[in-house]
Symmetry: D2
Subunit: 314 residues, 4 copies
């Protein structure tokens, strides 16, 4: 059975693994990312990929990197949290390891992992939403990953969902990520607790009484314990997720939506209001089966598994 190496390169750690054709991870190595040093980051990747390849006999390497990847699927054009600028990463790792190497954006790689082996397995068209600090994701159409002209497909964080709405760092107003992301969730909870300490009492308590210390973990934990304010914040997030998802469904009619990323760990407390809001805004309902909104299944292995799989087709 053919094996491939998958590498997931984030701002703080690099994970590499040997992945078989069924998406099973046979072995893994993790290292801290020497994020400020572009060369050392590449060297570290080459080193652990080589080690795994030597031991398991893999045929190709796929790298999911937190950055914008050129259409050559080799060059990292820009990576906000790494030192890479126009870095020919694929070529470099290929040369160092002697294996064909493919580079892809990390959200695309993770989306592909969920599409091939996880929550969207078997769907012909899927949208994977990675809800973390911001909101990005991946689009699969007819079984293929959509990259877009500049590799920016799935970078919908700045799709405007509310004309003249909240100020965004990108210079626009009303961007989706200002309403539907981990940051938006935390900001909403802090605001609630500051403006109405009585209703926010549960959230405040879990954060040592300080609104500005409330984190996503506090919110999810409080929601699980039934705290009404925490549940309301997750519901708000779900409503705004649903609004953007309905826009995406109107545009390209997918089978399945997958909620991935750190915030998706809230599970059904997030998925249910998202599905409900989405369903209420879905058009042409008599002509389609309603796309299911599912939770991601591969957790933080999705990127590694997806990257490995993308390298097979080369």
């Amino acid at each position: 059975m053919s094996l491939a190496i998958g590498v997931d390169v984030g701002g703080t750690k690099i994970a590499a693994g040997v992945v078989d054709e069924n998406g099973t991870v046979l072995a893994q190595i993790r290292r801290a990312t020497p994020a400020r040093d572009a060369d050392r980051t590449a060297d570290t990747i080459a080193e652990i990929a080589s080690a795994l390849a030597a031991e398991y006999g893999a045929n190709s390497i796929g790298i999911g990197a937190a950055g914008l990847v050129d259409e050559d699927r080799c060059t990292v054009l820009f990576a906000p949290n790494l030192a890479w600028r126009n870095e020919p990463l694929g070529q470099r790792i290929g040369r160092a390891t002697g294996l064909p190497t493919v580079v892809e954006n990390d959200a695309n790689a993770a989306g592909w992992g969920e599409a091939r082996f996880g929550a969207a397995r078997g769907a012909s068209s899927a949208v994977i939403l990675t809800v973390g600090t911001g909101i990005g994701g991946a689009i699969i159409l007819n079984g293929e990953l959509v990259r877009g002209t500049h590799g920016l497909a799935g970078e919908w964080g700045h799709m405007v969902v509310r004309p003249d709405g909240r100020r965004c760092g990108c210079g626009l107003r009303g961007c989706w990520e200002r309403y539907a992301s981990g940051s938006a969730l935390v900001a909403d909870a802090r605001e609630l607790a500051t403006l109405d300490p009585a209703r926010g009492a549960g959230l405040l308590e879990s954060a040592g009484g300080r609104a500005d210390q409330i984190s996503g973990i506090h919110i999810t934990a409080a929601a699980r314990a039934g705290d009404p304010a925490a549940l309301e914040c997750l519901r708000n997030l779900g409503v705004w997720l649903g609004r953007g998802m309905a826009a995406l469904a109107a545009a390209f009619d997918p089978d399945v939506f997958v909620l991935a990323g750190g915030v998706s760990e809230a599970g059904d407390l997030l998925r249910r209001p998202a599905q409900e809001s989405f369903t209420s805004l879905l058009s042409a309902r008599s002509f389609r089966s309603e796309p299911e909104v599912r939770l991601a299944r591969q957790g933080n292995l999705a990127g590694l598994v997806g990257a490995a799989d993308l390298s097979r087709a080369v």
Copy 2:
């Protein structure tokens, strides 16, 4: 050179033509649509396609039909202005003519025509917006037409662009087609003329003094003559087109947008405000070349030419 027959089936007329590999139409036949009689409509198509095929020696037939087409690209599931319900149109025409036959939704066919031979020629990813009574269109990604799970990709008329906005016939509020379509343009102009007859004087005059008689043709003509109210209505439409286009660009990062459909005949008076509004809302501008917003070039031949071309790949 290989020839194909393209057929464009609308609620009022059927146009068929012989199309070569460069998208040139060598010959054409037009007939009124016997819209209330499903059988006679199919017979008419078969008859004129056979006639053209006999004379020119075509190898395949492509039909663009104003309706929802099954993923088998043969069956028309539903056509609002024709009598077809689950009509196996492709099979029927194929049997009658002896030629392989493909059926596609008319907006998809027309979008394909513009993508292959018209305004989006050479673009790897394009969005074609058909702005007529409503707003539909087609998505081309990596040189392929995107159909979606239920053939509904590009049916973005009910994408919500303004939460809690204008009532829509679909039961939602704030749908794109209520702000960016020929109907919206006409409603806006009639409203302006009713509410402020002094500012709407030019529009009223062109419609014999009756606000409820103002049509798209009056608006475009008045705008060309420099009427400020007509120009404002086109600008409003352009602003809302730009808003939806920016959402689509954030989602799948196309090269090119094409404005097609009857309303696009307003030309640059519509295209310019649309481009401006779109540009002002485009995200990640430093990482992409700004997609161009172009006017369609094939007019009402786009559907016929696109359908013919789609039949070649079968």
Copy 3:
């Protein structure tokens, strides 16, 4: 007991009556308004007021006129549906009849009638909303009619309730009268019936199948018969009434709101959703008794009665 003459001057008819100190109308005369002739309109008023005064021995005359009245409470500065421009009406009628004469805006006069003898009797502060073609009204504070600097107090039709909302004839967008008036109600119902004929079937039927013939009377009648579409239109209107009323309550803290004008004939079908929407948006609830939303009680006599009463204080 002291008697006063009240006159209500509208665009189509003039009503005059003899009113006692309890607001009881002892006698009435009605005439068609010679609306295009400023002099004849004044002459008609003088004539019927004189006739009533001669027979009943009244001490003063109060005139409610559909226009903007100067702070001298004598001159009609502008009347959109009458021929008056800077017309010294009070002086003229006073000279012709020998009785002290006061002129007031008709909505103010009607509001005063409801405040003194009708639905707001006994309230120290009241807001009377006249919901007809547009939405105007009157403010009573500490038992006095508020006129404002230019006689425009209570002319809140162009208070913006939705930033960047519906186009208004005044040049702004999102004005209250575009959401909460008889015209808005009719436009909403026509739109509903046009966009969704199935849901609008009851409304369409009552208007002979033509959406553009649906009137306020049809809507009210259909709502009384339980038609869901008509009820929804009245509920929408009530929601927007409540929003504006909550803004007014936040500003000047009245005891009572009165719904008057033609649209208020829908009764509780309008009043209830208005009260509900208002209550949900009322601030500082623990520090106030919630203002009641009441229906007007004096119908089309309110203007005449109020005008008569306003003339007593001179």
Copy 4:
């Protein structure tokens, strides 16, 4: 010439002064507020008022208190930052000093001070906006202070200016004070500096590099020095002030608006965008002189002067 004592009771300090009929303050005493002790607060007021009265021979006492005052103008029903609940303050001070005493809400007292002797002097109808932590104010109509049924007139902080907008501590969404107050200004500037540190560089620098330390003083200072981000934040605030002011103008047609409170110290950098936004939304412009938007002139003496004057009429 008749003299009156004015007292301004805030959460941190009590200021008392002797005021003549022209609003001139002849002498002043200031003390820290013993805010947690209702009795000692009243005793302190009595003590300093007596001292001034003894020395200057005043005839009455007016107290402006930061709380909700009953219509008897004697009892403080509730004071969020003081210990008073149903405190018969007027009676108590009257008994202790032997002088007739009137109590009024502090924003009303300050508004009255500006109306009688400050920026709105000579206006028959004025709206004074106190823009501090929140946004409150006072209404003067026909030369009289409007109190409303529960003393809540002018408490417009929770007037909804944006349906479904920002969450507010009162439980509603879109309240005016969430867009137009010192808190909103600071939140906006912090958000801008957090989301876009490059544009917010000037603001960040003035706050030692920490977005969460940016204060109103930093913003005003940076704006005066021409910092574009600070100017933008003040402009945003001005736009939202103008929106609410236009609603108030539509409702009761005042001569003059006065911007008072701490935020008004930004001067024309705030007043100009507020006037501009207000003007653009003012209705019926051909029938009125546009109300002027002025800056307060009495600074923190307004409350003391206004309270003294209100006591004269008793």
